[in-house]
């Protein structure tokens, strides 16, 4: 991240050196053509990096999206006489629309159904291209016009080189910008952190769809360029094998890194060119024997270096600078807090049944503004399920949950977050590879409206600075100010729990739901946490707390609700609860 903001000179130098390659006398045309292809494939691979490596969705159908871009411009230029330049919006529109419709169906599916679906459409679109009369069936469409530039036609490999690589450069910059933004964090949270992101207002299906369409658009762009470089289209480059090769590029290069896509494309194309010369001679027959090497390579990379080869290259490059937090950025707007003592949350006969099992059985309790309420009970009492009902992760079977006078039972997690209820998780849900600062900034997702396009074009910087400043402020407040730029996974579990509290505070909540925040903390850390919570209470925040450490709970809370086997067995002040015989029996067993 921030690749282009720092070390600008180094990168500019690398780019200029690369741009000079075609000008070097004596470099054979053939090499330049190879680089042209690498550029075309890089575009697709960059999209896949975002989709697979960052977003955790896999597609074997990217070649089909190239086909949409290529065939659109082929039909428009050959049959309707359009200039190649003018067809770009149409190529992108058809690709985008196809991706949008396919994505609408598939991105909601979990894990492996998406790639399976992409294989199926990858195959069926190939046969579709090959059987439609207008598209020239399996022969395709030939005799397409080349690009022209001020009267020069870009037929020459050296001429189109610049057009292709300009597109690659733009794709890299836009992709890096996107990842380094509010929406980018949401995309990066798709892998392993989507439930947490959802409870801070990230609309997960929409984010998935956005990445999916963006990856397809890059493929469509590649197809558009390809059509006028080859000046012909036919179904075979858009079939399933090409789709698999694109994925190989992303895996090989390093599927979490934008530039890994370019690296992967380079390796695959160069290797393919060599193998196609050597292998048939070695074996003594014609055929696509390179698939043997590619297949083995794919498995070997997954076995030996699951993050691909880019991390190895990255070591040779200057280190990207750490994110800076602009302390002077204006603070984010604050929510109007409810008046102290007002009824904030009112749960009435909330019930959750899983088949025959009643996990939460008609539980009622209330939380007043400016109180810390403890929800306690033995394991399996229904505490976490109650949390999930309150935050919209699960829908209540019956009963009502009123928050600031409004019934929120049945609302989605995002909608509940928008109303000012923030939570932490019993099992920490941070994105391990992302810095603590960025993890926590996801908490403030709803406090900015920066969109995808704005982020790509860097129009979001004021907003972004405010979000990061808020994240840094909350982290400092919970005592993690020294670890802002460390990857979340490098912290101790107790610290990760505290980071989750900072993330929840970033939402600017009126009600904070904490699921076992003190678990795994040392004594001193527990004391600090208790101080922090008391301080929040004095500022008017309300807290609902699930916790097993009775000492911690008794000292801190104003009111306790005790659950056992899904039912509320008692409630009252800590002093009352500590002598309540029913509670003692639930915890310690009956007194015979």
């Amino acid at each position: 991240m921030g690749l282009f903001s720092s070390n600008r000179a180094v990168w500019l130098g690398l780019i200029l050196a690369f741009a000079a390659i075609p000008l070097i006398p004596g470099i054979p045309d053939f090499w330049i053509t190879l680089w042209d292809y690498i550029g075309l494939y890089s575009l697709v691979a960059i999209g896949l990096v975002l989709l697979t490596g960052v977003g955790g969705m896999t597609s074997f159908g990217q070649a089909a999206f190239c086909g949409f871009g290529a065939y659109t411009t082929a039909v428009l230029t050959s049959q309707f006489g359009f200039s190649p330049w003018l067809t770009l919006p149409f190529s992108l529109a058809t690709t985008g629309l196809a991706a949008f419709l396919l994505g609408l169906v598939t991105v909601r599916l979990s894990g492996h159904f998406l790639p399976l679906g992409t294989i199926a459409w990858g195959i069926s679109i190939y046969y579709l291209f090959g059987n439609i009369e207008v598209l020239g069936r399996y022969d395709g469409i030939s005799g397409l016009p080349p690009f022209t530039f001020f009267g020069h036609s870009l037929i020459d490999a050296r001429a189109i080189f610049y057009l292709i690589w300009l597109c690659v450069l733009l794709a890299v910059i836009l992709s890096l910008n996107l990842l380094d933004s509010r929406m980018g964090r949401a995309v990066r949270a798709l892998r392993g952190g989507s439930q947490a992101a959802e409870s801070f207002g990230v609309n997960i299906p929409r984010v998935k769809l956005v990445v999916f369409v963006y990856a397809a658009l890059l493929a469509g762009l590649s197809g558009w360029l390809y059509a006028h470089m080859q000046r012909a289209v036919s179904p075979s480059p858009f079939g399933i094998n090409a789709g698999i090769e694109y994925l190989l590029m992303a895996v090989l290069g390093g599927s979490g890194y934008v530039l890994g896509g370019v690296l992967g494309a380079t390796i695959v194309i160069v290797l393919k060119d060599h193998l196609q010369n050597i292998l048939p001679k070695l074996i003594g027959a014609d055929g696509n024997f390179e698939t043997i090497v590619f297949g083995i390579l794919m498995v070997a990379v997954l076995q030996l270096s699951r993050n691909g080869l880019w991390p190895l290259v990255q070591r040779l490059l200057p280190k990207p600078a750490e994110k800076t937090v602009d302390e002077s950025a204006p603070a984010l707007a604050l929510r109007t807090m409810p008046e102290r003592g007002a009824l904030l949350l009112e749960v009435a006969k909330a019930r959750k049944q899983f088949g025959g099992l009643v996990a939460v059985n008609d539980v009622s309790f209330a939380v007043k503004a400016g109180e810390i309420v403890g929800l306690i009970g033995p394991n399996g009492a229904g505490k976490s399920t109650t949390f999930n009902l309150l935050t919209g992760v699960l829908a209540a079977t019956s009963g009502s949950i009123r928050y600031r006078g409004e019934d929120i039972a049945g609302l989605k997690a995002e909608a509940i977050a928008a109303r000012g209820i923030a939570r932490t998780f019993q099992h920490v849900k941070l994105v391990g590879s992302m810095s603590l600062l960025e993890n926590v900034a996801i908490g403030a997702h709803l406090r900015s409206g920066a969109g995808v396009l704005g982020s790509m074009l860097r129009l979001d910087r004021t907003d972004e600075a405010r979000l990061l400043r808020e994240a840094a402020r909350q982290l400092t407040r919970v005592g993690l100010g020294a670890h802002l730029h460390k990857p979340a996974a490098s912290l101790a579990l107790g610290q990760q729990r505290i980071a989750e509290i900072a993330r929840a505070l970033c939402l600017d909540p009126a009600l904070l739901l904490l699921d076992e925040p003190a678990a795994g903390l040392r004594f001193a850390e527990k004391q600090q946490l208790a101080e922090l919570l008391s301080q929040l209470r004095s500022e008017g925040m309300s807290v609902l707390l699930v916790e097993h450490d009775m000492d911690f709970v008794m000292k801190l809370t104003n009111h306790l609700v005790v659950l056992d086997f899904g039912e509320k067995i008692a409630e009252g002040s800590p002093a009352e609860i500590s002598v309540n015989p029913v509670v003692l029996e639930a915890y310690l067993g009956g007194v015979e």
Binding site: G56, T58, F60, L102, V105, T106, R108, L109, S110, G111, H112, F113, P115, L116, G117, I119, A120, W121, I123, S124, Y127, L128, N131, L190, R191, G192, S194, Q195, I244, L247, L248, V251, I283, A285, G287, N288, F289, E290, T291, I292, V293, F294, G295, I296, L297, M298, V299, L302, Q303, R306, G432
Partner: protein, 346 residues
């Protein structure tokens, strides 16, 4: 279209559907036990048919050589991977089992093949050559990735498919082959001509499905596989070796793949890359059943077979488009049925 054509198409559809059912059931099985979405299943189908065809023609099939190569690769890699802990005894075991046996098999095939062996001997030889490849593929590609996500395993499976397709081209060439049918006679029932091979397909499929059912319901090994499918950690805790259940699942996949290939080899011409599409149609069925239910997979597979047969009649050019596009509405249906996608693994 008249009744005769409809009956003929239905027969065709059911035969293909039976093959897809076998493959679909195996895919569900392999996925459940190992979490691998085993795309290369199709390659075993093609290799089964092509190996039988080679033996039919009196030549030594490439798979006999390939098995030796794979055995050597597995021995070397397993030794390297566990170089610190492996015992000489274990290496010796692998040399005997993975190298010496395949070499013996190769020598046997070289001795038997030129005499154009009887069909049943060819079938047994084919099975002997293909079945060990299943566990070998598992050891080479998937065992080191056992802790990886479904997605990673899937990508690896695609890599294996790519490699095997290329190897198929090396060992069998680009030419297509047909095999001798198990039952050459054709029976007439009213207007309908029923190929004996069709009956063989249905009979073998029914027997295999029944066999699988008994294996999973009645045998300890079958129950161990099911236990692994339900909960890998739990299975390990009660002492089921998860690695060998993976190998067994892959051996079953190879066996069923090779048998399917030998069954359809006489009904359609098989090329080195024909298996991919055949296997994927098994997938369409498996997906329709949510990669979970065996009986639903069989029903869906028959549906895929019928859809294919009838679309081949009405819109032959778009046959594949129709069969593979059906997956989109199926996925919509799946996504409506399970609207809450569970938290993905990392």
């Amino acid at each position: 279209m008249n009744a005769t054509i409809a009956l003929y198409l239905a027969q065709d559809g059911i035969i293909n559907g039976a093959i897809y059912a076998l493959l679909g059931v195996t895919l569900v099985l392999v996925f459940a036990v190992t979490r691998v979405i085993f795309v290369p299943q199709g390659e075993f189908v093609a290799w089964g048919a092509l190996t039988l065809a080679a033996l039919d023609a009196g030549s030594v099939p490439g798979t006999a050589w390939l098995l030796v190569v794979m055995g050597i690769a597995a021995t070397v890699l397993d030794t390297l991977r566990q170089s610190k802990t492996i015992t000489l005894h274990a290496i010796g075991g692998m040399v005997v089992k993975d190298i010496a046996l395949p070499v013996l098999l190769l020598l046997a095939v070289q001795a038997i093949a030129p005499g154009k062996p009887a069909l049943w001997i060819s079938v047994l030889l084919t099975l002997a050559l293909i079945i060990p490849m299943g566990p070998l593929v598992y050891r080479l590609a998937f065992q080191p990735l056992a802790d990886a996500t479904v997605l990673t395993l899937f990508i690896a499976a695609i890599g294996v498919h790519f490699a095997l397709i290329g190897l198929g081209l090396v060992f069998f060439g680009a030419e297509g082959f047909r095999t001798t049918p198990f039952i050459a006679e054709t029976f007439r029932v009213g207007v309908l001509a029923i190929k004996g091979q069709s009956l063989a397909v249905l009979g073998v499929t029914a027997m295999l499905l029944a066999g699988l059912y008994l294996f999973f319901e009645r045998t300890m090994l079958g129950k161990a596989l099911r236990a692994t499918a339900v909960n890998r950690l739990g299975a390990r805790l009660v002492g089921i070796p998860v690695r060998s259940t993976g190998r067994i699942a892959f051996a079953l996949a190879a066996a069923i793949g090779a048998l399917s290939g030998m069954l359809i080899g006489s009904l359609t011409t098989i090329y080195y890359d024909s298996g991919f599409l055949i296997g994927l149609k098994g997938f369409v069925a498996a997906i329709a059943a949510g990669l979970a239910s065996y009986p639903l997979t069989v029903m869906a597979a028959l549906g895929v077979g019928l859809l294919e047969a009838f679309s081949a009649f009405f819109a032959s050019a778009f046959k594949e488009v129709i069969v593979f596009s059906i997956i989109i509405p199926l996925l919509i249906w799946r996504s409506l049925k399970a609207p809450h996608s569970d938290e993905e693994e990392e």
